[in-house]
């Protein structure tokens, strides 16, 4: 087997293992709950019959292992069971978690992809410029913005943008309300502010890390050698430095896109965007455990996949990593 393929498969297996352990933790945490869960969901005034009924309908009266196996088998096929919120009101229609999450997941992925498409090239170009002209005014400015933007909460950025770009000057929509009827271009227009907020939050970080990676490379002996033999600077950058920079840059990109996972939760709430982050927050408030579990697993999956991708890219572009010490 090709050594690269073997390493990739190894990483993939490790990622799956991690995901499995995460699912185990997410599932087991409900079991560690002190006291009766149904009581907590239904409230103190719930009658014993209501509690028993709830337990039966949610399947909480069966043994743990049986429930875990069933949940796991369903989760692999995208079926995360039934929402608690539809179980508490007796007689209401039963809604599956998948039917609640499906359209919202699509919305969140759309938002995330748009942010990535805008932020990644922007951050790489700015980071490269900051590295090339380091210690200039431009570089100082980049440093200052980075430091500020990593210390400012996302909701502040979101609300400032909303105030100045939507309320005082009506250039953007202040709320990103979309539904299944919204057309593609309308959708893009609606999410203008959430995208801008997330781009501002992650670009600064990505830029700073790109800058550090490139500065590190520019200080290495082979770049110095290329310079000393009189090679034009543009050729040094494109043919000597950049091919070696792909691994760290891939890491930077994956790390920051993974950070998006956290960013979307807050930003979706600020702009009332019907995404999976907003859904998760609502589910936590109403203690709708199946929905929370499903959201957590999806977030973990995306997070682990992105990190895996970064690993694979850095191994593929730097064969030395194939042979760990």
């Amino acid at each position: 087997m090709h050594p690269l393929l073997r390493t990739v498969l190894q990483r993939l297996a490790l990622g799956l293992l991690t995901l499995w352990v995460v699912s185990l933790i997410v599932f087991a945490m409900v079991e560690m709950l002190p006291g009766n869960f149904a009581q907590a969901v239904l409230g103190q005034s719930a009658t014993p019959e209501a509690v028993e009924n709830f337990n039966k309908r949610a399947g909480l009266d069966r043994p743990v292992l049986e429930r875990y196996a069933e949940w796991m088998a369903g989760a692999v096929q995208g079926d995360f069971g039934v929402t608690f919120s539809s179980l508490t009101n007796t007689g209401g229609t039963v809604r599956t978690v998948a039917s609640v999450i499906g359209p919202r997941l699509a919305n969140t992925l759309f938002l995330g992809c748009t942010v990535a498409v805008v932020a990644v090239p922007l951050a790489l170009i700015l980071g490269l410029l900051a590295a090339l002209y380091r210690n200039s005014v431009f570089d100082r400015l980049v440093n200052l913005t980075t430091l500020t933007s990593i210390s400012v909460p996302e909701f502040l950025v979101g609300y400032i943008l909303m105030l100045f770009l939507a309320v005082r000057n009506p250039w953007f929509y202040s709320l990103a309300t979309v539904d299944s009827e919204t057309s593609f271009w309308q959708h893009i227009a609606r999410i203008g502010l959430p995208v801008l907020t997330l781009v501002l939050v992650i670009v600064a970080h990505m830029m700073r890390m790109t800058r550090a990676a490139i500065i590190n490379l520019l200080a290495s002996p082979f770049v110095e050698m290329a310079r000393l033999k009189g090679m034009p600077p543009s050729r040094v950058i494109w043919h000597h430095a950049l091919p070696n920079a792909w691994a760290p840059i891939a890491n930077v990109i994956a790390l920051n896109l993974a950070y998006l996972v956290v960013g979307v939760v807050v930003v979706e709430v600020v702009f009332a965007y019907p995404g999976i982050g907003h859904l998760m927050v609502t589910a936590v408030q109403t203690r709708d455990i199946p929905v929370v579990q499903a959201c957590a697993i999806i977030f973990a999956l995306v997070y682990i996949l992105l990190n895996l991708l970064a690993d694979i890219v850095s191994i593929a572009t730097n064969p030395r990593l194939l042979h760990p010490r």
Binding site: N135, L147, I150, P153, L156, M162, V261, V265, V266
Partner: protein, 303 residues
């Protein structure tokens, strides 16, 4: 011990002994360093001191009580209510002042707890080694495989939202990062001769952890404390903003933003005040940490 510490991972330039023998020279050295500090660090220090002052003397500074309803809903800025009133008629300025105490206090407590837990386990893992080390490291790897905020959301949905739960959950989740750093730095110290000597001398585990290893990993840990404080502070603010952190009627900056957010749609900047207060503090702490890192090591990439 200074010589040995120079070889440690972060390469601290000088490690001050924690004994009180050279108190005076340490004080004067600190004063000297402060005079030479860059403008950003001085600014940061002053802001942090001001915040601490406001937090400690909140009772005397606030014109009204913490959750006292003193006016109509959403009153505008006036002489009576400096920043107006909030959604149920409580004085905004008073809530901002009390918020300093609650928000900073809870974040500080959480960070401190995370550090006690994380650094104790980290020291234990590095000094004892073997299966304990491996087990803890793998556990932390798994905990760090999901973003902290998502994990916190899952835990909060199960245990319910209360301040005690919030502190415990964030502290445990954050201690994983402290554990990582502490273990990595301590690993470099544990292999040194003086630790070996202490072991051969028959010193007990707590002594080796607290008196041999800990003093030599202080500078990176102190810097980490600042950074982690910012992170915890922002996480708690984000959770409170989502309505899952500090619960009303406790005044807290994160939830104040959420409660008054509708004002933004009328072009009022009042909801931005608590958010700005959060940002100003984290920026200041970052400035000071940057300066500290710059002083204690060569971590900055300035050639």
């Amino acid at each position: 011990m200074t010589a040995e510490a120079d070889n440690a991972a972060a390469g601290p330039a000088e490690v001050e002994p924690i004994t009180g023998r050279r108190r005076r020279s340490r004080l004067s050295r600190a004063a000297m360093a402060l005079r030479k500090a860059p403008l950003s660090a001085k600014f940061g220090l002053i802001v942090i001191l001001a915040y601490v002052f406001v937090a400690v003397f909140a009772n005397w500074l606030a014109p009204y009580g913490e959750s006292e309803i003193v006016g109509a809903q959403y009153e505008v800025w006036s002489d009576k209510f400096f920043f107006g009133t909030d959604q149920i008629g409580r004085d905004m300025l008073s809530r901002l002042i009390y918020g300093a105490r609650n928000t900073i206090g809870i974040a500080f407590l959480t960070t401190a707890l995370a550090f006690v837990l994380g650094s104790m386990l980290g020291l234990l893992a590095s000094v004892v080694g073997g299966w304990l080390d491996q087990g803890l490291a793998r556990l932390v790897d798994v905990l760090m495989a999901i973003p902290g905020l998502i994990f916190a959301l899952v835990l909060l949905s199960i245990f319910g939202t209360s301040v005690v739960n919030l502190i415990l959950i964030i502290a445990v989740l954050d201690s994983t990062r402290v554990f990582r750093l502490c273990r990595a730095v301590a690993m470099n110290v544990v292999v040194m001769d003086f630790v070996e000597a202490a072991r051969l001398q028959g010193e007990k585990l707590p002594w080796i952890m607290a008196r041999e290893v800990l003093p030599n990993i202080m500078p990176p840990m102190v810097a980490e404390f600042g950074l982690r404080f910012c992170f915890v502070f922002l996480t708690i603010a984000a959770l409170s903003f989502l309505g899952l952190g500090i619960q009303p009627p406790t005044a807290d900056w994160g939830s104040m933003v959420r409660e008054n957010a509708t004002l933004i749609n009328y072009g009022d900047i009042t909801p931005l005040l608590p958010a700005g207060a959060i940002a100003l503090l984290t920026v200041s702490v970052n400035f000071v940490v940057d300066w500290f890192l710059h002083m204690s090591s060569g971590l900055r990439d300035e050639h």
